[in-house]
Amino acid sequence: MGLFAFLKEKFSKKDKNEKTEKYEKGLAKSRQAFASRLDDLSKRYSSVNEDYFEELEQILIEADVGVSLTIKLVEQLLDKSEEEGITDPAKINEELVDAMFVGYVENGGNITNEIQFRDSGPTVLLVEGVNGVGKTTSIAKLAKRYMNKGKKVLLVAADTFRAGAVDQLKIWASRLGCPIITGKENGDPASVCYDGAKYAKENNIDLVIVDTAGRLQNKANLMQELGKMNRVISREIEGAPHETFLIIDATTGQNGVSQAKSFKEVSNITGIVITKMDGTSKGGIILSIRDELGVPVRFIGLGEKMEDLEEFDLDEYLNGLLVGNGK
């Protein structure tokens, strides 16, 4: 059974759980433009030809899947269609879903999405990304998630640069009722990290989440600053940061790959959080990032509410984007 049929069966038969509903709801707008276009395409053509594949290419590119990965996917489909004599457009579309799934899974090992906690002592999560992707909001959501699981969470406001950034995180800390370490405005972010690490050790914190200032990946000195923060944290807490999440905005185009590449150079990115997936963007860039760099997506932002940050689940994502319920 192909994946497409599998997804259809899996998600139509059983009573939908909360997670599936969240995915389907969050991805509804993206699906409208993506799945319905695929559907429409397969109805317009009685059998696949050059024009068909060209339109398929367009749909993928417009989902920000990226030129090279799109070409790779379409060529795979062309081969398959020739080798196995598949001419039914609907069949080809199912093969596409398969190819996207297999490509994603093959390009990196299996990984648990949840943050991996150490046996003892604080676990440190560093959160990075370019400006305006939703770092602070994602941190609040992650904090809430792990507080609900009974973890003692500490927020560290190491964005000392952007006006109002510390205030923003402070408001979240007080709403969540968790401790927060802040530094001076325009102060050295590494020293805030140091204070945070010290506090965490002395107060039996389970999870330290460090918010960093947004930075464009081509600013050499700002990227070096991340390196320094990494060094300071690792001096204070063994093996820290244990997790480093790169936040990527779903509306990002091809630059997302450059972002992942550059941040990976200065820090050990263990996962991606893709935000703002509740809009009309398809977030196809995460496939390109996975294809080129092998970095997995760990969490996905499906809405504005605190609970709308979900563990990334490829089945759910592809179902939400391609199969789903209703158009």
Binding site: V130, F161, G164, Q168, D249, T251, S258, Q259, T280
Partner: protein
């Protein structure tokens, strides 16, 4: 900088073409295909890419191209003309009313509205001498109002807010009342980020629009935005009748193709470009210059204009004479370096000059660090020492080094640099006398 790799790609394509003396269907086809891929990788919308490449193809395949001596140049010209058309032919300024000009900024979350509000306020206050009122309408994002307040304080611009429990429509109304009553020239309203499909929040903007009738409704577009940007823009445009676009984060390495698509699809002019994190980092968007940059010709015009602004001509003339005469002091060296610094970061300058794309970010960061060292060393000298650097022997050097917290080696480096510059001036004077220019100019 944006478009850099696109221009690199174009250069690659044209280099291939330069080797052939005529444009043929075949070699055109591969070039066009590469242009298509380059544009798609720059996030230019698929439909726009299609239209653009069709245009170029049909024009380039015309007879007059085939008969030209240098087909490569011809193709550059066609691409350039098409790109200029795509980007909009004119540069467009803010429309200022006789009385109060109202500006509303809107866009998706994280596009850069608040920062741009600060930058616009800075531009209007400090360059155009306008009396500006900033109003914080983002009652949703935690600390958004605080953020704008901090920027307003930094700029010395008045700030209006009614707290987070207020209705943004009311805030807009009250802000406008205040602005009218107190004789402000410009009111800039910073609204909360929202998805274009969020009906409730879009209605809020529609209501503000209806009540305030802003002179300008500007959409913030992230230079990193992907294919969906055109849909976002058209939705905002349908609901709010936008008057223009501000592209943010153009100082990144994103190519910004999406903003070009918006211009092409909706006809909205791109009025400003955000080019850095400082409040002064807002540029007017020049379509034709951007097209030049895409084609790898370098943003020479922008460079020249910036240079003009930074250099006061008369001082420059005096400076030049002094330097040529050999009376070149450390003060002069510092002043010279500061002038260069005023041009903007070394990085942004280097990237505007054609044929200089190879300076790495590390190198430019290094050069800027170097400048700071020079400044602190020279600032630690007495006025006499600066005029007569020759007098700097061991004990004086020691004192200077201590004064600026650097080593003797660094003080020596500054002096050596001064000696080199002085030597260069002398040589230039000799060249000038003999009527020859130093090498590198002309062919």
């Amino acid at each position: 900088m944006a478009f850099e790799s696109l221009s690199e790609k174009f250069q690659g394509i044209f280099k291939k073409l330069r080797k052939e003396d005529k444009l043929t269907e075949t070699n055109m086809a591969s070039a066009i295909k590469e242009i298509r891929v380059a544009l798609l990788e720059a996030d230019v919308n698929f439909k726009v890419v299609k239209a653009f490449t069709e245009d170029v193809k049909s024009k380039a395949l015309g007879q007059d191209v085939l008969t030209k001596v240098n087909p490569g140049e011809m193709l550059i010209k066609i691409c350039h003309d098409e790109l200029v058309e795509l980007l909009g032919a004119d540069n467009t300024d803010i429309k200022y009313e006789k009385g109060l000009t109202t500006i509303m900024l809107c866009g998706l979350q994280g596009a850069g509205k608040t920062t741009s509000a600060g930058k616009l306020a800075n531009l209007m206050k400090n360059k155009l001498n306008k009396k500006v009122l900033l109003a914080g309408l983002d009652v949703y994002r935690p600390a958004a109002i605080e953020q704008l307040g901090v920027l307003a304080r930094q700029l010395g611009v008045d700030f209006f807010e009614m707290g987070t429990n207020s209705n943004p429509v009311n805030v807009a109304e009250e802000a406008k009342k205040k602005a009218l009553a107190e004789g402000y020239d410009v009111l800039i309203m910073d609204t909360a980020g929202r998805l274009q499909i969020d009906e409730k929040l879009m209605d809020e903007l529609k209501n503000i629009n209806k009540i305030i009738h802003p002179t300008e409704v500007l959409l913030l577009v992230d230079a990193m935005a992907g294919q969906d940007a055109v849909n976002v823009a058209s939705a905002f445009n349908n609901d709010l009748r936008l008057t223009g676009v501000i592209m943010s984060k153009l100082d990144g390495d994103a190519k910004g193709g999406a903003a070009l698509s918006i211009k092409y699809m909706s006809g909205l002019p791109i009025k400003f470009a955000g080019v850095g994190e400082k409040l002064t980092d807002l540029d007017i968007f020049y379509p034709s210059r951007m097209a030049d940059r895409i084609l790898g010709m370098g943003d020479v015009v922008t460079f020249v204009e910036k240079a003009k602004e930074a250099f006061d001509e008369k001082t420059a003339e005096k400076e030049a004479k002094k330097m040529m005469d050999g009376n070149f002091t450390l003060d002069d060296l510092l002043r010279q370096m500061k002038m260069v610094q005023k041009l903007g970061s070394l990085q942004s300058i280097a990237k505007m000059i054609p044929g200089m794309p190879k300076i790495t970010d590390e190198q430019t960061a290094q050069a800027e660090k170097e400048m700071k060292i020079f400044e602190s060393v020279i600032n630690s000298m007495t006025p006499y020492e600066r005029k007569h650097p020759d007098c700097l022997k061991f004990s004086r050097k020691n004192r200077v080094a201590k004064g600026c917290g650097l080593t003797n080696a660094e003080v020596n480096r500054v002096i050596r640099k001064w000696e080199q510059s002085k030597e260069m001036m002398k040589q230039m004077k000799q060249y000038q006398k003999s009527g020859k220019m130093p090498g590198g100019f002309g062919r």
